[in-house]
């Protein structure tokens, strides 16, 4: 790889070192180099939210970050969040409420929703709609997604479902 530079970062808890081209986006690096294909790419310009991952705990558009910018940081993708059980309440609520159809937007939705509901409060529907307003879903009507996030938030924050 001409002009590749070394990159070391922690991905899903595993310290990872690779040579990457400086122009490689974090999304492409995760998907192609590490085969972490749960992170999806829908627009490559920060508009659709399909590529959201956690970078040092904060949701970022991995299509807008170069892999080399993640040097020394912690990246968590849906694969890692699923493996650690962090997404379990959301996974269950999304499944039960059928808050997905093709599922292509789902990983980005889950990352964003996870960041929202782990803030320690139960967001209302307006807040949920606002929080996921950068996540494009072509298949659902969003309503089921809002329902699922609300249900998972209640469960996580110790309120019973209605």
């Amino acid at each position: 790889m001409a002009g590749a530079v070394p990159l070391t970062l922690t991905v899903n808890g595993v310290e990872t070192a690779r040579m990457v081209a400086p122009r490689t986006t974090l999304a492409d690096f995760l998907r192609t180099d590490l085969e972490l294909t749960a992170t999806h790419v829908g627009c490559e310009m920060g508009a659709c939210g399909a590529c959201l991952v956690l970078l040092d705990g904060v949701p970022v558009h991995s299509c807008l970050v170069f892999a080399v910018q993640a040097q020394g940081q912690r990246v968590e993708t849906v694969e890692g969040l699923v493996a650690s059980g962090a997404l379990a309440p959301l996974q269950q609520a999304f499944h039960e409420r059928n808050a997905l159809q093709c599922g292509f937007c789902t990983p980005g939705m889950l990352v964003n929703a996870h960041a929202l509901i782990t803030k320690g409060t139960v967001p209302d529907r307006e807040e949920i709609r606002d929080a996921i307003s950068g996540n494009y879903c072509r298949c659902t009507g969003y309503e089921a997604i809002v329902d699922a996030i609300e249900a998972a938030a209640r469960k996580l924050n110790g309120e019973g479902a209605e």
Binding site: G42, H95, N98, Q101, G103, R129, G134, Y142, E143
Partner: protein, 797 residues
Amino acid sequence: MNAPFDRPLGAAPHLQPGVHVGRPLPRPNAKRLVAGRGNYVTDMKLPRMLHAAFVRSPFAHARILRIDVEAARAAPGVALVATGEDLAKLCTPWVGTLDHFKGMKSEPQLPLPLDRVTWSGQAVVAVVAESRAAAEDACELVEIEFEDLPILADLDTALAPDAPRLVEGFADNLCFRSSLESGAVDDLFASAAHVVEADLAFGRHTGVTLEPRALIADYDASVHALTVHHGTQTPFQFQDLYSRHYGIPEGRVRVAAPDVGGSFGVKLHVYHEDMAVIGLSMLARRPVKYVADRLEAFVSDIHARDHRVKAKAAVGADGRILAMAVEDETAIGPFSTYPRTSAVEGNQVIRLIGAPYRLEAYRADLKVVFQNKTQTSQYRAVGHPIACAVTEHLMEKAAAATGLDPFEVRARNLIPDDAYPCQSLTGYKFEQLSHEACLAKLKTLMDYDRLRAEQAELRARGIHRGIGIAAFVEITNPTPAFYGIGGARISAQDGAVIQITPSGEVRCLISVTEQGQGTEAIIGQIVADYLGVSRDIVRVITGDTEVTPHGGATWACRGAGIGGETALQAARKLKANVLNVAAAILQAQPDDLDLVDAEVVDRAGGTARLSLAEVARIAYFRSDTLPPGTDAQLTVAHHFAPSGYPFAFTNGIHGCHVEVDTETGLVKILKHFVVEDCGRIINPLLVEEQVRGGVVQGLGAAFFEECRYDDAGQLVNGSLADYLVPMSCEMPDIVIAHMETPTRDTELGAKGCGEAGTAASSAAALNAVNDALAPLNAELTQIPMTPARILKALGAY
């Protein structure tokens, strides 16, 4: 594909057999998707796989004078560069016409053009390299010399008598023209109490599937065989096309669709790049992957709509609509899409106008017009939103002319629920619809009287709310009369193979496909009920021509109605076989036995006699213990094609409640309501989400989505930052209620529901905005209803 067993980790909850159909059961395969285990073509890679990128035309219409690819060929990582000529040696041309559309014409197409480009963004040269980035780098080294040709940028330019012809030798720029006339149209207009008119424009929009189009072609020269991993709705259609156009025997072409990230009709048309990728793999003798990026998707995925409709209605003093007359002009791009054509939408517009109502006379004229823009073709609810908006806009005008309430004017005009079977003036045969019941239900659901009272009260305070309603019929379950008679090799039948495995589980291979609607889930429910097992032991496999029997797959809302009936009949057949084998083992009569929850039981009394697993064990491993001559067929294959009514029509009605800010032109969609009747409901959870998703696509068309072009035929908003799509914060909660009028043409009784949401939502929204603006004497006649257009209608500038 490959829905996993939905066996919970703990104890299996006992589902009562025979009760899966009709229940809101979650989809088994959704568990994979929420676990990040989706497998989309965009995710796949094969050993030694190459990547394709395309050099695209910057001009909407131009002659290609010279192409120089030498520098690109020499670029790092490049495996091959191909032009139109290279691929024309392998691929035969295609023409997007249907025989039953008389006089239809379109130019032959090849994967890449030989000497002329006809829209901006058309792929001209293909570069295949070790990575997509290397291919894109090399694309920049390709030199193409173009010479401008006159551009047909809009309808009027193309229709002018002296317009340059888009295709040399064609007498005009019409792809197709059609007219209909029924009843005494002129007499009724002459004698009507009122004549109301409308002049409506519908913008171009496009599918914007979140996963763009993607395929990997893997040609194996050693056996002259082709495997294509393809994000498509219709694998068998592509198997046929790749086989015929590339001269590979059908049996050696495999098309497999894994998870597909949205389709909505976008992923069943032939695209030039996709066809090219097959040839590129043959040339490279290696797997070649192509994934459209978002910009490429905007300029090469089919667009839809783009209609201009002039319409009028003759209205009696009592508010009865007596006759309608319409002219639809629709611009489709430089050629008609293959193999389904670009004429179906216009044809459906003129045939669906007025469909829910009792008209006495109807006249329509359709012009399908070529222009230098991206091809248009079938996208979710083909023609329905336009037909519905025209009809319902006229209905509002009739209400205004006669002083009737919008609900009352519909009540006076809808085909009564006791008038079936009947036929529309455009030839649609309706078996049994429920318009009156849906209308009544919507009124209650919306709490209409309260909304009206609230509207009046808020208006006094300068808040402009509007209520709009729109009734629809949706074409579902098409028979071979749809494409087959036009000569297209698009199947109206579906096939299923169902098998009891040696362990007593059930495998169902079926030709209908899954793109997230829940096809696999509902097929599993149906098989479980009609075979007599619980859902969690049924595995449903779809989307692979090598595995499933041939069939039409998923389009025009045929998955549940046709695919579901196929599964039902196959399951019944298999159940009879199981009971025959069990009867032989038990020395009983098959008729005295039944299969319930995977147990063979006495039909009378229900005593368990033998487990399904035991029947399978004996049939597969100890056939020597069966009585001689026992036919132990625990696999059945079954095909089903709809007959009877040419279509099963779903019907329903939408209500939309909006608030228009007259200062900014922004519309807040407060709530949307749908009452729909898709016949037998297999899974209400899935029906409701289908309808909601459809509504959101219709509201996108109503308020946001538009492919905008400049005079030079350049798409000016080809990105997700510029082309607006509905996002969560703009969308309302959507309230849904059901009626259930099963079709009697099938035992299952299901009709489609996937387009019901899109069919009428933009019409309801248009009526709602116009209702809000009525006191201000402003009217919208164009969608999308952008803030600028609303302000313009208000005379703000």
